[in-house]
Structure formats: structure tokens, C-alpha cells
């Protein structure tokens, strides 16, 4: 193909324009805005590190940060384990397996708001079906008021998020499982390895590159979780289920504190970058490099 030097740029022009206006531009702008006090319709005022100082001196911020880490610590392993478990289940040559795979993936394609409604109903204290099961069949005399109890609200968000997001890791793990050569299992069986030993010494190590990828995207998901909080608890009660992304939203679009929320957004981005960096540095410690 022969073409003028300018031609390729014509092809990427729309995407480039979009990247500048809606990605690169905002990333830089948000950094600058984080040094201003910008409220509602009033013009911004430069305050230096003011927003960051306010943040670090605020109890709510530290609570929100703690919530964010608690959420992540439960969500990431939860999604990875459930995703792998579902992948193992549907990685069988059985009739109708595509139907099961379809059902397991279903939560992933549905609107969070729509499923949050039914989860709200399931977790309702007195008339909810979950507490009915707990009271009647599991002998829990006084099951918690899940969504209005500060001790359990965040846990509910974790459970719903894991259920909702396990489909994608399932698909990725499934592709990984199908890529493990069958002769490895055959050799292990000849050596007398049982099912668990095969899983522990072949499946898991062979899946480490996939697990690494799943870890990166799941971690990213955990630090951008907004919809479940918005749809189920609005961060309550008393900020008990507020995580950083929702706190940013709340400060920007309910309190109209653009400067302060931009500072929060930058803290969030730096945390994500540091964790992603650490993951890449730690990669060689546990990921089997020549798995294939």
C-alpha cells in the first residue's frame, strides 16, 4: 500500500481527538483541579496542598480508605476463587454444558441497578428470603439487619459484587484451562497422582499467567467499584459502606466540591498505579514463566 504520510493520522484522528478530550486532557486537568478550591458555580481558587491536607486530617477519609481496602481484600480473592471454581465446573465435556456456562455468566451482562434491587429485597431484614432461610433452616435466632447495620453493609456489597463479576474471570480461566496440554494430566495419572494433586501441581501452576491477568483486572475493578454502592446503600449507614470511588462521586456530584474530589481521585489513581506496579514486580515470584 502506498499512501501519503498524513493518511494514517486521518484514520486515528477520531480516536485521538476522543483520547485528548476525554482521557489525557481530564487526567491532567484533574491533577490541576486538585490544587484548587472549586465549589459549585463559584470560580476556582488556588489552595496548594489544601485539599490533600484536609483529606489526611479527615476521619471520614481514613474510614473510606479502610473500607476500600477491606472491600478489595474480600472482593479480589472472592472473585478469583469463584471464577476459577466456575471455570473448573464448566470445563467438562458434558451435554448441555454451554447452558450452564451461559447461566453462570448471566450476572455479568445484566444491569447492576436491576440486580441490586432484587438483592436489596433478598437482604431485607424482616421479610427478606435470606433471613427467612437463616431463621428457619439454619437456626440463627436473630439474623442481622444486613443493609442498615454498619458491620454488615460493606459485606453485602462484597457478596453482590463477587456474584456479579465472577463471570468474566470464569471465561478467562476457562480459556486458560483449555490451553493446558492433556498429556500433562496423563503423565501425572500414570505416576499415580490423584485429582487434588493434579489440580495442585498441574492446573494451578499452569494457570498462574492467567491468574496474574485476572488479578490485575479484578484489582482495578475493586478500586473503581461505584455502581453497587450507588444502587444498594448509597454508602450508608454512616459511611460504613462508602469506598473511595463512591466518595469521589459524592463529593463531586452531591456536594459539588470539584477540587476536593479531584484530589481524592488522584489518591485513588496513585493507589491503583502503585498496586499494579507492585504486582508486575512480584510477577516473577509466583507466575510460572514458561507455563506452556
Amino acid at each position: 500500500m502506498r499512501y501519503a504520510k498524513i493518511t494514517p493520522y486521518m484514520f486515528i484522528m477520531p480516536m485521538l481527538l476522543g483520547l485528548i478530550l476525554f482521557r489525557f486532557g481530564p487526567i491532567v486537568a484533574s491533577f490541576l483541579i486538585s490544587f484548587t478550591d472549586w465549589r459549585g458555580t463559584r470560580p476556582p481558587v488556588f489552595v496548594g496542598l489544601g485539599n490533600y491536607l484536609e483529606m489526611f486530617n479527615s476521619d471520614v477519609f481514613w474510614l473510606v480508605l479502610l473500607n476500600t481496602f477491606n472491600f478489595t481484600l474480600l472482593y479480589v480473592p472472592g472473585v478469583m476463587v469463584l471464577g476459577l471454581g466456575l471455570a473448573l465446573l464448566v470445563n467438562q465435556k458434558l451435554k448441555g454444558i454451554a447452558v450452564f456456562r451461559g447461566i453462570y455468566y448471566l450476572p455479568a451482562i445484566t444491569s447492576m441497578v436491576a440486580v441490586a434491587l432484587v438483592w436489596n429485597w433478598i437482604f431485607t431484614a424482616r421479610f427478606g428470603v435470606l433471613n427467612h432461610v437463616l431463621r428457619t433452616y439454619l437456626g440463627v435466632s436473630n439474623p442481622p439487619n444486613w443493609l442498615s447495620n454498619p458491620d454488615t453493609a460493606l459485606l453485602v456489597l462484597v457478596i453482590v459484587s463477587i456474584w456479579k463479576s465472577a463471570g468474566l474471570p470464569m471465561m478467562i480461566y476457562l480459556a486458560g484451562l483449555k490451553g493446558i496440554p492433556a498429556y500433562l494430566y496423563e503423565a501425572a495419572r500414570i505416576d499415580g497422582a490423584n485429582g487434588w494433586q493434579q489440580f495442585r501441581h498441574i492446573t494451578l501452576p499452569m494457570l498462574t499467567p492467567v491468574s496474574f491477568f485476572v488479578l490485575i483486572i479484578t484489582l482495578f475493578d475493586a478500586f473503581s467499584t461505584f455502581e453497587v454502592t450507588f444502587a444498594m446503600t448509597r454508602g450508608g449507614p454512616l459511611n460504613a459502606s462508602t469506598t473511595l470511588p463512591f466518595y469521589i462521586y459524592n463529593n463531586a456530584f452531591n456536594f459539588f466540591r470539584y477540587g476536593f474530589s479531584s484530589a481524592l481521585a488522584y489518591v485513588l489513581m496513585v493507589i491503583v498505579m502503585i498496586l499494579t506496579y507492585i504486582n508486575f514486580r512480584m510477577r516473577s515470584r509466583w507466575v510460572v514463566q514458561d507455563a506452556y
Binding site: 500500500m1 499512501y3 484514520f11 486515528i12 477520531p14 480516536m15 485521538l16 476522543g18 483520547l19 478530550l21 476525554f22 482521557r23 481530564p26 487526567i27 484533574s30 483541579i33 466456575l86 464448566v90 454451554a98 451461559g102 447461566i103 455468566y105 448471566l106 450476572p107 451482562i109 445484566t110 444491569s111 447492576m112 441497578v113 440486580v115 432484587v118 438483592w119 429485597w121 433478598i122 428470603v129 468474566l168 471465561m171 476457562l174 486458560g176 490451553g179 496440554p181 499467567p209 492467567v210 496474574f212 491477568f213 482495578f220 478500586f223 473503581s224 461505584f226 455502581e227 450507588f230 444502587a231 470511588p245 463531586a252 456530584f253 479531584s262 481521585a265 485513588l268 491503583v272 507455563a291
Partner: protein, 313 residues
């Protein structure tokens, strides 16, 4: 580059050896039964919220709040079985919201196809300065949470686009523009997916066109686009699902009730009709059902797309 690294781990040659034929027949039978039992129990647990949702929409108010909870809804197969749905459309404008969701999702997805296929083609087949740097940056921005970019995006909309559009007699805020245009332009996953696809197209196919003196755009339009129909379908479906379910931008930009998309209609509905679970969940069913139908008929494309890109769209 991150995605490519991980992909190297996934997309490798497969070796299949059949070893199952030595197993004793009886053992296989019990194991199959056990496997199916496990699959069915898991399917029930994963699908329970959907079943409970559907069941509740067919209940009267007193059945909803009965203890123990009623498994079989009391309005099932009675003449007023669908009354929650009827009220939803008759009294609450859900037909309009459904149309809005369709419109926004369709426009944004078509836009994303255009930008992503143009850029994907350039990254796959054309040489230009800064190509690798740009592609790296494109992938890197995929790891920036939307919470970081949404505030300046909103301020840009308020302070620049709105006055600009007002000047020319139009509007930006409280229209579909801020819902459609950003996802129209920024299609990281799509660009990546189509670039990967275009790279697999044999170069010989374009040679005939080159000999005929066709322009680059002609080659893109008449050689690459027709060949990439399956990949484009996948991308379109993923983009459609994403836009259909989108919440943050509609929450921020949509003010007029008649412009609401389904998710945003549901959240306002939720605050107005707290305990009317049959109505609320009928709203959920209406929101989920169109995607469910698409999913059932196009599962192959969707599954293909997510396992090659590892991203939702």
C-alpha cells in the same frame, strides 16, 4: 502491552489427548450424575436472584410480605398475572425509557465501531511516527478509573460544550450527547480487538486492490471491513451491553425525566416506590430482558469477544 502479555499466556496451541476411554463404565456414570448435581446446584445459586425477581413480579402485595416467603407467586397464570408490567408501561413511561436505552446504546455502539475500526486498521496495517507510543498510551489509559476523568469531563461539558452549543442554539447538558459522544470516541477495547483481528488478515487479500490503484480508505472499507464482520459483531454486542447498563454518565448528565435510560429510571423509581417490590422488580426484568434475548442468540460472539480481549467492552 499488559493485555498482550497476559494473552500470550492464554492463546497457545492446544493439545488434546483422549484418555477417558479406559475408565470403567459404571464409575463414569456416577461421576456424571455427581457432576450434573453440582452444576445444577451452582446454577440454582447463581440464578436464584433472577428467579426470585421474576417470581416477585407475579405476586400481590400481601403475598410479597408473607412469611414464610411464597415460592410460587399467587398471581401466576391468573388473568392479572402481568398487572405489574401493565402498570409499569401504562403509568410509568417505561416504554419511553426502553426506547431511550435502545437509542443511546445503538448510537454509542455504532460510533465506537467507526472510531475503533479506523484506528484499529491504522495500528494494524499502516506505518506512522509515534505509532507504538500512541498504542501504549491507549492501553495505559484503560487502567485509569473513570472516577479520575469524570470530574474534568463534567466541567468541560458545563463550562465549554454547553455555552458553545448554546451559542449555536443547541444544548449539551441534558441531551444524549454526553452519553453518546465520549463512548463514541474512546474505544480502547474495541481498537485493541480490531487491531488484533486485522493483523490476522492475509496481506495477499489487499494486493489485488492495491494493483487496481485503490486508496487506503477503499482498502479499509472494501477489503478489511467486510472480512471483519464477526469481530465487528462481537465488538458491537459488547459495546451495546456496556452502554445499556451504563449508570455514571446518565446519573450526572440526564435531568429531564423523559430522557432517562432504564438504569436511571430504575434508581429514581426505587426512591419513589420503596416497598412496591412487584413494580420495582418488574422494572428490573424489563431492563434485563432485552439483553438476555440478545445474549441467548449471540452467545457465541460475546463469549468469543471476552475470551480474546479479557475485557468487558
Amino acid at each position: 502491552m499488559l493485555i498482550e502479555k497476559a494473552k500470550r499466556g492464554i492463546a497457545t496451541p492446544q493439545f488434546r489427548v483422549q484418555v477417558d476411554n479406559v475408565r470403567h463404565h459404571g464409575v463414569t456414570l456416577t461421576r456424571h450424575t455427581l457432576n450434573y448435581a453440582l452444576l445444577i446446584v451452582t446454577a440454582f445459586l447463581m440464578a436464584f436472584p433472577f428467579l426470585w425477581m421474576l417470581s416477585t413480579t407475579f405476586k400481590t402485595q400481601s403475598a410479597i410480605f408473607s412469611l414464610p416467603p411464597m415460592l410460587i407467586p399467587d398471581r401466576l397464570f391468573t388473568p392479572d398475572m402481568f398487572s405489574s408490567y401493565e402498570r409499569l408501561f401504562a403509568e410509568h413511561n417505561f416504554a419511553r425509557y426502553t426506547f431511550n436505552s435502545f437509542y443511546v446504546s445503538l448510537m454509542a455502539s455504532i460510533g465506537q465501531l467507526i472510531t475503533a475500526s479506523l484506528a484499529g486498521f491504522a495500528f494494524a496495517r499502516l506505518e506512522f511516527r509515534g505509532k507504538n507510543v500512541l498504542f501504549g498510551l491507549l492501553l495505559a489509559t484503560a487502567l485509569v478509573p473513570i472516577e479520575v476523568t469524570i470530574i474534568p469531563e463534567f466541567l468541560l461539558a458545563m463550562q465549554v460544550f454547553e455555552p458553545l452549543f448554546n451559542f449555536f442554539g443547541g444544548r449539551w447538558i441534558d441531551t444524549y450527547n454526553p452519553l453518546i459522544v465520549p463512548s463514541f470516541f474512546v474505544g480502547t477495547t474495541g481498537t485493541f480487538l480490531l487491531r488484533e483481528f486485522f493483523r490476522t488478515v492475509p496481506r495477499e487479500l489487499e494486493e489485488a486492490a492495491v494493483v487496481d490503484g485503490a486508496t487506503v480508505f477503499h482498502i479499509y472499507r472494501h477489503v478489511y471491513l467486510p472480512l471483519s464482520l464477526p469481530a465487528m459483531t462481537t465488538l458491537f454486542l459488547l459495546a451495546f451491553i456496556n452502554n445499556w447498563n451504563a449508570l455514571l454518565r446518565p446519573v450526572i448528565y440526564v435531568k429531564s425525566p423523559e430522557l432517562r435510560t432504564l438504569p436511571i429510571a430504575l434508581t429514581t423509581f426505587q426512591s419513589e416506590y420503596t416497598a412496591q417490590w412487584d413494580m420495582l422488580l418488574a422494572g428490573s426484568v424489563v431492563t434485563i430482558l432485552p439483553l438476555l434475548v440478545v445474549y441467548i442468540f449471540a452467545q457465541r460472539y460475546i463469549v468469543e469477544g471476552i475470551s480474546t480481549t479479557g475485557l468487558k467492552g
